[in-house]
């Protein structure tokens, strides 16, 4: 057991080290949400005044955090495809380490990297006009960690059958983008056509964004922004994460 934990730690630290050496990845991770937040957010909030004292920027801010968690998390699957292409995966697979530890280690590593991005955006909250207490920030970070772990596992699961990085880019476009747009980041679930509402309700990201709003704006007057209650959000993401992790381990054993 101690040995497996050491293996998980090693896979985790490896992802973090690799990330810290890729300057362009760090820049991209910071700049993309900034563009969304300030260009789309500012633009929309100027032309679409919302009811009450909530402006659009405040509404989409948790969604933007959700995006910084989702995109790199799913995108992290590409690191598995690259490990296969460059041979390092073989080094891990022949080592006396269980497939379960490999899946968990990679998910934790990629998840940590995405969490770093989400945390950076979280520190932008004063610019959006939101003040958060320490307790709220801690709660947010825990919820964000759960989300990134789940979404990174999902990315790895999608990457297992992939032979090329190009194939994985396709997944990003066909799956990660719709997951983001249908997460309720830009518009609430209530009020969309029925078919879209169904798609949004089966999208795990919708619960991530809803959960972030629940924690961030925990006051009766803004509860109109959220659809579900927090424990339901947490439950959905945790169960989804659990199922995905098991599926990843099984898929790994079949493929390799």
């Amino acid at each position: 057991m101690a040995h497996e934990i050491r293996a998980i730690y090693t896979l985790w630290i490896r992802e973090v080290k690799r990330f810290s050496r890729q300057k362009s990845r760090i820049m991209g991770m910071i700049i993309q949400p900034l563009i969304f937040l300030f260009f789309i957010g500012k633009g929309m909030s100027s032309s679409l005044p919302m009811a009450g004292d909530m402006d659009f920027l405040k509404f989409i801010y948790p969604g933007i955090i959700g995006m910084t968690l989702l995109m790199p998390s799913i995108g992290n699957g590409i690191s598995l495809v690259m490990d296969r292409e460059f041979g390092f995966l073989k080094e891990i697979l022949v080592a006396p380490v269980s497939r379960t530890s490999i899946s968990i280690g990679k998910a934790l590593g990629g998840g940590t990297v995405s969490l770093i991005g989400g945390t950076i955006v979280l520190f932008l909250s004063p610019f959006v006009g939101i003040s958060l207490s320490i307790i709220t920030i801690i709660k947010l970070l825990i919820f964000m960690a759960l989300t990134t772990f789940t979404m990174t596992s999902f990315g790895i699961l999608l990457a297992i059958p992939m032979e090329s990085t190009e194939g994985f880019q396709m997944i990003m476009t066909l799956l990660a983008m719709p997951m983001f747009f249908l997460s309720g980041a830009f518009f609430p679930i209530e009020g969309v056509p029925n078919w879209m509402s169904i798609l949004m309700r089966i999208n795990p990201m919708a619960y991530a964004v809803d959960g972030l709003r629940n924690i961030m704006y925990n006051s009766p007057e803004v509860n109109a922004m959220t659809t579900f209650n927090l424990s339901f959000d947490i439950g959905v993401i945790a169960i989804f994460g659990f199922v995905i992790t098991i599926a990843t381990v099984i898929a790994f054993n079949i493929k390799e």
């Binding site: 040995h3 090693t10 490896r14 080290k17 080094e91 891990i92 022949v94 080592a95 006396p96």
Partner: protein, 324 residues
Amino acid sequence: MENIIEVSGLRKKFPEVIAVKDINFNVKKGELFGFLGPNGAGKSTTIQMLCTLLKPSAGKAIVNGYNTLDNPGKVRKSIGLVFQESTLDENLTAYENLKYHANFYGVEKQKAKKRITEVLEMVQLTERKNSIVENFSGGMKRRLEIARGLLHYPKILFLDEPTIGLDPQTRNKIWDFIQNLKKEEDITIFLTTHYMDEAEYCDRIAIMDHGEIIASDSPEQLKANLGGDIIKTKVENKDEVKKEIENKYNVEVQEYKEYLTFEHNNGEEFIPVFVKDFKEQIKSITMQQPTLDDVFLNLTGREIRDEEASATDKMKNKMKKRGH
């Protein structure tokens, strides 16, 4: 001497082809054992089965006393592996690659530290230990990979084509290193190669072709089995002369391209007689001590070099694809 690898009736069947056909062989403890054969002979498939990366279709393999099917974890801990293609993480430093390997194999921390210093020294990469592997030359990467394979004190080191894609100078260096290794460590080395000259360094070799082991012995013995010197000659009226030679000297003549080859116990004294007998037909004549190439030619009727070009091309394309 006791056997550290015992293989009996091992077979691997892929949907389209039987890659390994019920082979049997043993490797003795402390030996430098070579697996020789052209590309596609089934060498790598055999190694992958011994390393528990592939499940055999039939038969069994005992590695360091453990059955590869019943005890894959124990087998993996007993062996070090260096693959044909690089399996390093090129975004990490040499030291990190080694340290992570020690973690994966559960080498105790203090012991690992000492061992890393030791193996880095052995492959002469101590000064580069904190450099990112991406900037290493092909030879350096291969050396680092061998160092990594040794890190967890394996009983057997598997080297799959350890010198493929390297220039001759680097190849020699790797070989010096492998021979040193045998002196310094209590280890059995199992390697595959399709370079005949490299197979000469081995204590024993097994020659594999089309999934079967067609000969297994020490290189000296295999060459001695050929029986004497090899006469290679180019003549006019090849078919006629072939028959005449066979009848006259009671030897078996093989055809290879435009040449006729045959063996003779005492080539030096035979050549003058041969030249006198066939002075009208002989266009050229050479004599040589048998090499492993001749052993292979004798066993299969073709030269191993015929297939080498395509393997090199494949390697080059692969390297290009990876951006080297």
